[in-house]
């Protein structure tokens, strides 16, 4: 009997990892962007499987829909022609590969080091299948009210379940500042002599 949760997990995990690796190995920055989109979109599926429906929707909306469009936009604004690739030396590849590989081994070791993490509590839980209804609870938590504290049996843990109103406000203000700052940074400086755009590049915007 195939466990469908596992099946879909494997599907999404494979897509995620494969495209993540593709991001690393592809030389063309536009293809990198496409692979990254595919990878992150597959992560959305993983979130749904982990009963994080709101997070998944946000990932899809903000990350895939917003952030990555921005990235692609940046690629187009700065690319010198469509097929520019910037090669690095094999020695650099070796160094980076060693460091990254060491990190990967370390993380994998950590991932399988705890026994309780390797056994799932429920084979196929209702929450896992339906994508738990977290929207209202997340909304209340952002307003500073933890309704899920009622479900926490351990009083010691319940004490630590704080609301998130202040972080929410801080992040809101932070986002505003970031937007203003980004607009300021990216503003075209008309006073300086414009740099001659290389052929085949568009700087229309």
């Amino acid at each position: 009997m195939i466990n469908w949760h596992t099946f879909f997990f494997m599907l999404f995990a494979t897509i995620t990892c494969a495209f993540a690796v593709a991001v690393v190995v592809s030389a063309n920055v536009v293809r990198m962007a496409v692979c990254l989109i595919a990878s992150l979109a597959a992560v959305t599926g993983l979130y749904f499987l982990a009963a994080a429906d709101f997070v998944a929707a946000m990932q899809l909306m903000i990350y895939v829909g917003g952030t990555l469009v921005l990235l692609v936009f940046g690629v187009m604004l700065t690319a010198r022609g469509p097929f520019v690739s910037m090669k690095i030396t094999p020695a650099n590849w070796l160094m980076a590969g060693l460091a990254g590989g060491a990190l990967l081994i370390l993380l994998l070791c950590a991932a399988v080091s705890v026994d309780a993490w390797k056994t799932a509590a429920v084979a196929e839980s209702a929450a896992g299948r339906e994508g738990g209804h977290t929207v209202a609870r997340i909304g209340m938590a952002l307003l500073g009210l933890r309704v899920d504290a009622l479900e926490q049996p351990n009083p010691a843990l319940r004490g630590g379940m704080a609301g998130y109103l202040l972080p929410f406000e801080i992040i809101s203000v932070h986002l505003l500042v970031v937007l203003v700052g980004a607009a300021h940074l990216a503003r075209a400086r008309r006073t300086k002599k414009p740099i001659e755009p290389p052929s085949g590049t568009s700087r229309a915007a």
Binding site: M1, I2, W4, N28, V30, R31, V34, I37, A41, D53, F54, A56, A57, M58, L60, M61, V64, G65, G66, L68, V69, L70, V72, F73, V75, M76, L77, P82, F83, A126, E130, G131, H133, V135, S202, A204, A205
Partner: protein, 392 residues
Amino acid sequence: MRERMIAEYLTTRYGLPGWLAYGGVALVQCLILLGIMMFAAALFTWMERKVAGRIQDRLGPTRVGGRFGWLQSVADGIKLLAKEDLIPKEADAVLFRLAPYISFCAAFCVYLVLPFSNGWVAQHLNVGVFFIVAVAGLEVFGVILGGYSSGSKWSLYGAMREAAQVVSYEVPLGLCVVIPVMVAGTLDLVAIGNMQRGWGVNWLVFHNPFLFITFFIYALCTVASTNRAPFDLAEAESELVAGFLTEYSGFRWSVFFMAEYGSMYAMSGLGSILFLGGWHGPIPVAEMLGLTYANHAVLGWLGDLLGACNFLFKAFLGVASMMWLRWTLPRLRIDQVMTTCLKYCVPLAAAMFVGTMLWTYALPGGLLPRSTPMGAVAEAPPWTAPRAARGE
């Protein structure tokens, strides 16, 4: 939810293996949706030509398939399929091939969570509204990649305009979507649709004056984010040859167009659920006739069918008005497009948000008295009830 019941029935009754039953049911569902979308695209292509013709004092297609040229779309489709499949030398071939399908997939994915009637939805998602907005935003990738990978400067300009425009218009669009969601208190499209049951005054658009204004902002942003005239800067044939479509031809070109019509229809549908009562007409005919699940399952199903017709008609009206707009208004300049978004739509939508918030705070309940539907209150069909209530 219903598909799971069918699949379970297939496995228990006929002993089909689970993957086959589930997969088969899912496939059938996909095919139905795909059929709807294809048919809608074909219908709208024909309609667009007729509408354009009539508005410009012409007849539009008349010959193919009889009196009104109603086979024109089929003929076009055959022509497009038969065309040579061109890929420019300068193009990035992989991305060039991929781009139309990304657009199409994004436009199509919206239908996965869009309910056509009370519970008639492929995947009943409790964050449906967000999902739709998110996925509809993905359509722009196809356009951008297509424009970029064509290796033509016209395409690139078109793509960049598209990127700037769509990313900007997602902000007021999101705000406009959030306003009815705030009033409804849920992101679940089926629940939002069902709470507008009854007479037309129960529609959210009449809930308060701010929501009424919001509806029009939403309509504007929808036109802009689906790249329709007067916001079709990305294709702007008078300036950019054909924008991001310059290098496309044949089947790939038609896929882009199907995506455009698909997303127009989807966004109109979303608007009709969020503002115009979804599958509930201005007069609760189904309740009047007793077509409810409380009476009989078949009667309830008939009532839902009536609702689906209602929904399809409203979405159709939305598309029709988009066409009307397209052939009436001249195209804006890119700076005007951005000005409309950033200087008018965003502040206005934000103001409507605050206004609705204050309204719901000060006057819970709507502007007009809430009408109660006639006769027995329509019960939600059994598969939309929470799992716990069904005893699972």
